[in-house]
Symmetry: C2
Subunit: 136 residues, 2 copies
């Protein structure tokens, strides 16, 4: 019962963390976007480069995102599945945003996987993988 | 020390599982490819569809892969980082394969994230995310 309650608590904590992160993206609030990321974070993003490492490179992936995402920014979960252990967890989700390309705003469905580690009682994102299927 | 040894054992077990999986792909050995996957596996693959669920849909993603990957099949890790807890783990990697497109075989670099859960003492893959950056 104790372990089950803990697990549920961890899942809820991670769900809240990810919902706050998505909300921070919609608000273009950089400190809040980066608030729960590990310094050595490894990021696989939708556009190139093939990978980014560390908070400074991670921050730049958001500069690129905001350069094509106009107000009001859309960055929404369509579903979110969390698998949480006591100190390691991952989440898989379908999301969508609304980039503007060639002057036209449109919906873009993408996939997200997040890896987390608990450090000093707090969940931290150490890995993100955002993508769309090739050729879309 | 005990926890540290366990963690190292888990990381080694997952590294071995993933290396055997990649080796099974190179051998086109379907039973070995699917040997350590959970029935409710969720897969985000390089080509469409946007997601596949369950072993039958997962198997079909390999039919598609082998339809463009000729003998000898290349499916190799360039690096592999594993984050293992006691019952949940994830791995992030750079890999490459050699698909044949328009009669021409070429190297394709891609990213892989894998989510795992320990069940009855055995690690099982419950999530895979393969992708290339958009526009590549």
């Amino acid at each position: 019962m104790g372990a089950r309650a803990d697990k549920s608590t961890d899942e809820l904590a991670i769900r809240s963390l990810l919902e706050h992160w998505a909300s921070a993206v919609r608000a273009k609030d950089y400190p809040a976007i980066l608030a729960h990321h590990a310094p050595a974070l490894r990021m696989f993003d939708v556009p190139p480069p093939i990978e980014s490492r560390g908070l400074e490179e991670y921050r730049r992936t958001w500069d690129l995102f905001f350069s094509t995402s106009e107000h009001p920014v859309v960055f929404d979960f369509d579903d979110l599945e969390i698998t949480a252990g006591s100190d390691v967890a991952f989440a898989a989700a379908r999301m969508h945003c609304e980039p503007t390309e060639n002057g036209r705003r449109g919906r873009l469905d993408f996939r997200l996987t997040v890896g987390l580690r608990k450090s000093a009682g707090q969940w931290l994102i150490t890995h993100e993988h955002h993508s769309i299927p090739a050729g879309s």
